[in-house]
Assembly symmetry: C2
Homo-oligomer: 515 residues x 2
């Protein structure tokens, strides 16, 4: 196994800490928030039976949060409009509590008055989970951003809900811990991330939120505070109620604090991008990489030509990205650079011998000083916004058995009419998660309904999941009705009624219109 | 780093698959089931307001499961008595359904008749979670033991609830997948293991059940079947309701099918036992091992002298185990034997240089052919039964911050009177989980209540958890009342009332007597 390393193909990162990160920002979207049509008009929705916020309500709410409220239309626009600039609500105010007690006061008041509430973190949901649909009171966690404790020995982090992933990554890295939620949007706040059960590319290595969240503090819809905080990795004292809030998407309460398990920070990270000719080769590369890299593998991503070229067209800085059918990005994170390099080298020789790859590039990762390879990683995070700049994007985030993944893309390209001009796909191979971005010149509710049906039918028949890592939010709220067991849908409703009998929390989200 | 390997200290396992397993069996207990006093007498409990099973009920139940019922007292005794021979119920029958439909029929009938039900797998609970307290109808999952599917590429297993861990480990290993639940009692059935949210020593590496369970099928108390099965690693379509049943301890329904994520099988496993002089050294060994071994580390266990010597006294086959203050067992599981050996060697040289270890031994692992080192692993699994043979054992399974762990053992040794003759401790260091076994000549309810209070107070003040990996079951049902947030206790009760309004499922368990 000890042969010289082909440095042209493989450049290892030595001594760097920190993972690959995208530089995905709001400025990627070219549409102005004020130009986005109102969601209620676009989707023809009926407002729920909630009280309408009056000027008296606004005064009281402002008092409850010691003046930290915005109610001017210009200030509100970014809170009323979603990240992808496709949805717009008309909330009259956003409040910024600083303490759990203030969140409790706000929710108690809203519950008593039967005012609908939209919890909001950094408002980075890609499924419209964090914007109001009508005139919900927006409760922002942005001012609750203290890191409470980081314990290196125990491998735990405790913080308030408004901490951004960027901040938490930085703070945990200083204590040589790895923050196990890696999303493209680093502004995202941990409270929202936990509420939406977000995942990202590295869950197969570092675990998902149901496994990694150790404790939560939640303000329930009537203002009651549930203290289910713990920093213990094993706590089996009664039901694990915190799990109910992981993935509840703000519909059962507002998460105000979070405790997470964080593994030791890997000492060396390598990233490689290889190019290949077919999706069958993509899968064979993944299999061999899993087998050869084993425990050091931290991500394995694929992107197709339409996905990568869309980003290249928008971002001219992506110099040097070749035009290839399929791109596979492999990341390792380990404790010994020599060992990791040997394993990677062995893998790459094998891939070349088997003629599975056309070419490949590797470079160091360090997001304080972005390099060529880091920009390769960033392609992943820019696909949706790059396509959004070119027109309307219907975005689907599905899980599928590997063999059923690309046939869906090919079926869509074949079956859809001229209205859809491009079908781009990319995904996290290690957990069967594939994103589909379908481009058209403008939005049509009937096209979206037809796509929902077509994709849900395919995914359900294949034993997949129609929402993989982004949650249902507003945009995917109806997908569950097509594929979930009716007993499960009823139980979801029972849980909602138990915790939020007035239905004030994040209405028009998560649940299908018909349930 | 390339220096010759000290083979006397370090012998690697090459080409072996499969992890370390204990040979813990029922025969370890020397007490006969029939001699165990009735739980209702020992604890002076009041029977719940359920119907008493009549001979008509037994006839109907027998029909519903096509004759697969035992009602003879001799046949029932092992179903009425717990694994550790400390509890005994008086159920008049155990039924053995073979299908989900039969489980549904049985629960629907019991619900209509208001008959209490005790779900039972292999009846290996260490907290009395799987034995009746009064005359509950026992519903056994033992005849539902089909492995439905194992998918190497997807890394998933689908099976019926009655499959033993032993069977699942064997079947997944054949497909080069690692079954991520490693308990000492390999007879345990996966349905019961998921219901109890069991953990074991390797969760820090391979994740816990909340992270690894992908789907469940559950029969609810009224006989309704909830199909929440999925083999997708990411499924974010609506609330993650399956989480409610992971750790519900049979009090919300009976799990009939399970889907699990299984990582690739590591190719090489090494185990080392080292001896050291103080608990501070134990912790420093753990820190250095985490730092040097990184991603290949799969377990780090400690045992104290009282724990190991108790096993040695009972099992004379444990030849050669030296008499030392503390024992630390380190396991690695990796994809390249050379690399793993190098990392281990480097660690051991470091531990010797720092004078942290007195001595150590390593050997290959293969449980078809148990060896010396495997028996070292087995000590862990035999401590409770070895102590039980010497008298009555009060057993606690707590999570604590590392620095607070051993001071509790020392405090107990100092503060407790002559009634407690030995305090043995052992634990899974990577997740702060410590087991305490307190030996006395006979059981006393008042001593147990005093210990409950003392240990709960200490653990709660230290920010720990009073039940770490075994659940509450019957024995630890009252611990939560001392340390849980009242809001959380009320929410537990609300969830119970929502799913089991008649309270027939596994009564006298999980919930404190007062709630």
């Amino acid at each position: 196994m000890r042969v010289p390393l082909p440095r042209c193909l493989l450049t290892s990162l030595r001594g760097q800490r920190g993972g690959a990160r995208s530089l995905f920002t709001l400025s990627d979207s070219s549409r102005s928030p004020a130009s986005v049509p109102l969601t209620r008009d676009t989707f023809g929705l009926k407002r729920g039976e909630f009280a309408e916020p009056t000027s008296d309500d606004l005064s009281t709410l402002k008092q409850l949060v010691k003046g930290r409220m915005e109610s001017d239309e210009d200030d509100l626009i970014k809170h009323n409009t979603d990240w992808l600039r496709t949805l717009r609500g008309s909330s009259p105010c956003v409040v910024f509590p600083k303490t759990t007690a203030e969140v409790s006061d706000v929710l108690r008041y809203c519950s008593e008055r039967r005012l609908a509430v939209c919890p909001q973190g950094a408002n980075t949901s890609l499924v419209g989970g964090s914007v109001p649909v009508f005139d919900e009171v927006i409760v922002s966690t942005s001012k609750m951003d203290d890191v409470i404790d980081i314990d290196h020995d125990g491998g735990t982090l405790t913080c308030e809900a408004g901490c951004s992933l960027k901040k938490l990554e930085k703070k945990t890295r200083k204590k040589r811990l790895y923050f196990p939620v890696d999303l493209n949007i680093r502004e995202a706040q941990i409270g929202g991330v936990v509420a939406a059960d977000m995942a990202g590319p590295r869950t197969a290595r570092f675990g998902n939120l149901h496994g990694n969240v150790l404790g939560v503090e939640v303000v329930l819809p009537d203002g009651t505070v549930l203290d289910s905080m713990s920093t213990m990795r094993k706590d089996n004292t009664g039901f694990d109620l915190k799990q109910m809030f992981v993935g509840s998407e703000g519909s059962l309460g507002i998460i105000t604090k979070v405790a997470m398990a964080c593994p030791p920070m890997p000492k060396h990270i390598n990233v490689a991008m290889v190019y290949t000719e077919s999706f069958d080769h993509v899968l064979e590369i993944m299999r061999l990489a899993k087998d050869q890299l084993g425990e050091i593998m931290s991500a394995c991503e694929f992107m197709d030509n339409d996905a990568v070229m869309s980003v290249k067209q928008k971002h001219l800085t992506m110099w040097g990205v070749p035009d290839k059918p399929y791109y596979v990005l492999i990341e390792t994170a380990g404790h010994c650079d020599m060992h990791d390099e040997e394993k990677l080298k062995f893998l790459f020789n094998m891939l070349k011998d088997k003629r599975l790859i056309m070419d490949g590039q590797i470079g160091p990762l360090n997001y304080d000083d972005p390099t060529f390879v880091e920009r390769l990683w960033n392609i992943n995070g820019r696909i949706l916004t790059a396509l959004s700049a070119a027109g309307n994007v219907y975005h689907y985030d599905v899980s599928l058995p590997h063999a059923k993944q690309y046939p869906l893309v090919e079926k869509l390209r074949k079956d859809l009419g001229d209205e859809i001009t491009k079908v781009a796909s990319f995904g996290h191979l290690l957990d069967g998660n594939m994103h589909l971005a379908l481009l058209s010149s403008s939005f049509s509710a009937s096209t979206m309904a037809a796509l929902d049906r077509l994709i849900t039918e395919y995914v359900t028949a294949a034993g997949g999941a129609v929402s993989a890592e982004l949650g249902c939010g507003f945009k995917s709220r109806n997908l569950g009705a097509h594929c979930k067991d009716p007993v499960e849908m009823k139980m979801m409703r029972d849980v909602k009624n138990m915790l939020d009998p007035k239905g004030i929390m994040n209405p028009y989200k998560v649940f299908p219109d018909s349930v």
